[in-house]
């Protein structure tokens, strides 16, 4: 195995959430035109629309905390499926929203982009 998909998945998630929490307008680099986002009720396609959606979410400050993360290689060409559960802290609240999220990552040159991103709050 040339690239350890576990490491890729873990590093990707950390990077993604760090970017999301510090400046989510910059997340566009991680999506492509064919990328899809399902955020609760909304389905969006294309980096531009996805970032617009993420930026428009009704919170100023946000912090993601990963609780669990698992990954599997998903195709011979190096796709990776990452499934995450975690907590979302919104606007300095003490109470976290719990969520689960699935990323389908596709290799693109030396890096990966998000082909599909499915976010769902768990309300637990």
């Amino acid at each position: 195995m040339s690239v350890d998909f576990n490491t890729v998945a873990t590093e990707f998630c950390h990077f993604y959430y760090q970017q999301f929490d510090s400046d989510r307008t910059q997340l566009g680099n991680l999506y492509r035109d064919q990328s899809m986002l399902t955020f609760e009720t909304s389905q969006l396609q294309g980096a531009k629309d996805i970032v617009e959606k993420l930026v428009s979410l009704p919170f100023q400050k946000v912090a993601h905390r990963i609780s669990t993360l698992d990954a599997q290689p998903a195709s011979p060409s190096g796709d990776i499926l990452v499934m995450v559960t975690g907590e979302l802290l919104i606007d300095e609240e003490q109470n976290a929203q719990r969520y689960s999220q699935v990323f389908h990552l596709i290799p693109d040159g030396n890096s990966y982009y998000v082909f599909n991103d499915i976010f769902r709050l768990n309300y637990s």
Binding site: T41, T68, S75, M83, D91, N95, R98, Y123, S124
Partner: protein, 614 residues
């Protein structure tokens, strides 16, 4: 005497619980005046006391005799008077102990005579109350302390309640420690609707005797623990995440905050309390956090969730078929699922055992442990944030039929109520272009019905010292409801069969369906109906449901009137354009159907491919 009236006296300003703008509720201000308590205390003492009679006192005045007894026998006699008929000096001692002490002094010389003491047997039969009697007493007590109009249970200074004292409820510590749980049991049996509880002045220093409160009244909003002996923050751990609706807490008159002058420490206490009680807004009259923001956060800004998303109709048919059959076999006989897995198929699970923040009130009664025992899953959990060794990371992905079957058998037997209660589930399904397959993400809950076929902890237990960190060998984890997320990648196999290429399962504490329960039930019902055809991919013969405006995403529907919604659905179906382009077409055609068809015909050839639903 009206106990109920006195209850009000002790808590006369109950509006404070509901008035967060009133910041002046310091100590006694909110809970009646101390003088009132003093009077009550005397009355209670009189009720509780034991009547005695003294003969041979008349060598001096009654006052001198009482004073003598106080000095000599160290027993205080109160409310004494001389019975005009018999000439006997009558009075009361504080309790049975004092009475007994006094009896031992029988014959003591006073003013040239021997004093004779005797108890007046009035309350002795009552003191040996039988159990049924006890329940009756508690029930009456509860009724006298409950104010249904404001849903307040006033449990101030319970020990001094004359009703209870007369029954000997607080004669010993053991009775008093059993008293509160018994009280809660009776409250539960009587289905008392309680939003506020006042437990002030009960000499409490921890929650051990009253811990059941959180179980009986999980919806409690207001709680006063004023004038008790709480001095450690740690004791509130008992109720951590158990009183998730608690809005106001009063801790005034407890050493915990009263003795604290360091602002940093006070802040720390507030923060910890906010963590333990996620909806706590008011502490001792002080607003701790923005309630509006809190309720927005907790009710979630993302409204109108839909439970189902399918990229297109074919995906809908395939995935609903797949899931309904899959879960049926998963609950029934997992061995039958193995035809779906091949040598390169992968399966792994991850366990998010962190405590849920919100109590699922529908399950608290039958699952008091909250479904948090993950003993059957932990040993196989492949949480990459925790599992760092390469060996474990590799061994915890089951690859191929044999390993996957083994992993399946190490999971508890389950029941997914997909058929009877499809609302409990949510799905998102997409094409997986590279493999010409589909990706299905399903969220929901299930009930564990039996222990796993094979013990997941058996292997590790033989691994020497590591075994001891696992679940105790003979103690099976408790079965309960759990929630899960699962991601399947399903690809076409030979002869129209299906193969599960990837299977990721995440197990977490039971959380119910609130995340998507605002939803129209139609799509969920569509899943259930999918079971009728066992063939994996069989769109033929399965009547395609005609979409209705109810299927439109909430955020889109919100901006459209019903006629526009109808038109949009029609356009979506007829043109196969995606949502964005369909809306665009409608808008540019002024929401006129004829115009839409003309415009569509004219521009269809020039539209980009992504304008169409995949």
């Amino acid at each position: 005497m009206s106990y109920r009236g006195r209850g009000r006296g002790g808590f006369h300003n109950q509006n404070n619980f509901n008035n967060r703008n009133n910041n002046n509720n310091q100590n006694n201000g909110a809970f009646g005046n101390p003088q009132n308590h003093q009077n009550q205390a005397e009355q209670f003492a009189a009720q509780n006391s034991v009547p005695i009679e003294i003969v041979g006192w008349n060598g001096a005045s009654p006052a001198e005799c009482i004073s003598f007894i106080s000095r000599k026998c160290r027993v205080a006699v109160s409310n004494y008077n001389v019975d005009p008929g018999s000439g006997i000096l009558k009075g009361y001692v504080k309790n049975q102990n004092d009475a007994a002490t006094l009896m031992n002094w029988n014959g003591v010389k006073f003013a040239g005579q021997s004093l004779k003491f005797s108890k007046v047997n009035v309350g002795s039969q009552v003191q040996s109350a039988t159990t049924s009697n006890a329940i009756e007493v508690i029930t009456n007590f509860l009724k006298s302390r409950y104010q249904p109009d404001i849903k307040l249970l006033n449990l101030t200074n319970v020990k001094s309640d004359p009703n209870l004292s007369a029954q000997g409820f607080f004669g010993s510590i053991s009775t008093s420690s059993k008293f509160f749980p018994a009280l809660m049991k009776v409250a539960e049996d009587n289905k008392l609707d309680v939003l506020s509880v006042d437990l002030s002045a009960n000499e409490l220093s921890d929650l051990s005797s009253i811990s059941t409160l959180a179980h009986t009244f999980p919806q409690l909003q207001n709680l006063s623990l004023m004038n008790n002996n709480f001095n450690k923050l740690k004791v509130f751990e008992t109720w951590r995440h158990k009183l998730n609706f608690l809005r106001e807490l009063i801790l005034g008159g407890n050493p915990l905050l009263a003795n604290q002058t360091n602002p940093a420490e006070i802040n720390k206490i507030k923060l910890e309390l906010m963590k333990s009680f996620p909806r706590l807004v008011v502490l001792d009259g002080e607003i701790l956090r923005n309630e509006q923001l809190l309720s927005t956060t907790l009710s979630l800004p993302f409204t109108g969730s839909t439970s189902m998303f399918f990229q297109d109709e074919e995906i809908r048919n395939m995935s609903t078929n797949f899931i309904s059959n899959y879960l049926k076999l998963w609950d029934g006989n997992r061995g039958d699922l193995m035809i779906l897995y091949q040598s390169e198929s992968q399966f792994s699970i991850q366990v998010d055992s962190s405590h849920p923040y919100l109590l699922d009130t529908t399950t608290t009664t039958s699952y008091s442990n909250g479904g948090t025992d993950f003993g059957n899953y932990l040993s196989n959990s492949r949480n990459l944030t925790r599992v760092s060794s390469i060996k474990s990371r590799i061994s915890r992905v089951a690859i191929g039929q044999e390993q996957i079957f083994k992993a399946f058998n190490q999971l508890p037997k389950t029941r997914h109520d997909l058929m009877t209660n499809p609302d409990l589930f949510s799905m998102e399904c997409f094409r997986f272009p590279l493999l010409n397959g589909i990706m299905i993400v399903i969220h929901g809950s299930f009930e564990e019905t039996a222990q796993p076929e094979t013990d997941p902890n058996a292997n590790n237990a033989q691994n020497g010292p590591r075994g001891r960190f696992n679940h105790p060998k003979h103690k099976k984890p408790a079965l309960s409801k759990k929630s899960f997320d699962r991601t399947f990648v399903v690809i076409p196999g030979p002869n129209g069969s299906m193969i599960v290429a990837s299977d990721l399962l995440s197990i977490r504490p039971h959380a119910g369906k609130d995340a998507w329960n605002t939803v129209a039930k139609v799509p969920a019902a569509a899943i259930a109906s999918g079971t009728a055809s066992p063939a994996p991919v069989a769109p033929v013969g399965v009547p395609q449901r005609v979409p209705t405006p109810a299927d439109l995403p909430q955020d889109i529907k919100a901006n459209l009137n019903p006629l526009q919604q109808e038109l949009l659905v029609k356009i979506l179906v007829e043109t196969k354009l995606n949502m964005q382009y369909s809306i665009m077409l409608c808008e540019q055609s002024n929401w006129d159907y004829q115009q839409c068809t003309i415009n569509f015909k004219n521009s269809a050839a020039t539209l980009p491919r992504e304008a169409f639903a995949a």
